[in-house]
Symmetry: C2
Subunit: 148 residues, 2 copies
DNA sequence: ACAAAATACATCGCACACGATATATTTTTA
DNA sequence: TAAAAATATATCGTGTGCGATGTATTTTGT
């Protein structure tokens, strides 16, 4: 009875747990630099394309501005980015990396590989884990289309 | 350059996003009942085995007591559980479902299926998504062993 | 051109997560 | 058995996520 309400039968619990544990695994690399995992994601977005308005960053990370705005405010206070009023559209806030924010790119360059190695050393092989990517993208695409 | 720092090359971002979007997809089912996703997880644990100490619930969900204790306090205030001092070990707090907490099991019984149907209607097929489960378990097992 | 709708950002409140720390109780160990 | 270590829970502070709401600016529809 209630088979579908067993914790071990739930995909969602696995996703929730895996996401938390991955963030936790990143902690040792982030803590010395004084950044958090979501802040790292913002940096990834800005390293690819600097000088974006808040809404574009939010869209890329699939977050809302009520999450991203305070996040960027903290990052500005930490000296990682600056937020300037847009020239064409004054509603916008253009977010730009500071020297410190750009410099962090080199400091972080080896981290994904290190973490990958950490995981592989425990899991055994990376292939099975990386093979999830297409299915995750499919799931994310489907879930994203639910609320719009 | 910096290929490994591209957002689209990161497994972790997919896990983080998928977990958030799944929780969001659950929202319409939880909101009318006044519970949250983590509270639902606690209910899953207690429906399987009622009357557990805080530490066992935390262990099952791979969370710490500093997350679970306030969670249970809110659930007690909401009338879903009671927390009583343990008889053998008075350090423990035994968490037990109330009538309301137990009744919610039937109200939730069809939710995982409904959500599954929601996702399948968008993703197309469930097989590829469900096929991730063994890899997720492997990943979780590996990550868990990193910090201990 | 001008009122209405849409957009961009911000603020507020609440509920997690989690590191750090504190307290009480049990278990272990010398 | 008494001190030390381990365990169970709780509290505090910070940083997200996100629903609800507010404000300013741009775009749209007539």
């Amino acid at each position: 009875m209630y088979e579908q309400l067993k914790l071990d039968n739930q995909l969602c619990f696995r996703l929730y747990t895996a996401a938390r544990l991955v963030m936790r695994a990143y902690q040792p690399y982030f803590a010395p630099l004084g950044i958090t995992y979501p802040q790292y994601l913002v940096l990834l977005v800005l390293w690819e394309q600097d000088g974006q308005p808040v809404c574009d960053i939010a869209k890329r990370l699939m977050l809302d501005t009520n999450t991203v705005t305070p996040l960027l405010q903290r990052m500005e206070k930490a000296g990682l980015v600056v937020r300037q009023k847009g020239k064409e559209d004054t509603r916008q806030r253009i977010v730009t990396l500071t020297e410190k924010g750009m410099a962090m790119r080199e400091q972080m360059a080896s981290v994904p590989e290190c973490l990958g190695a950490d995981v592989v050393s425990k899991v055994g092989s990376a292939d099975e884990v990386l093979a999830m990517i297409p299915a995750l993208d499919k799931l994310i695409g489907g879930l994203k289309s639910i609320d719009e």
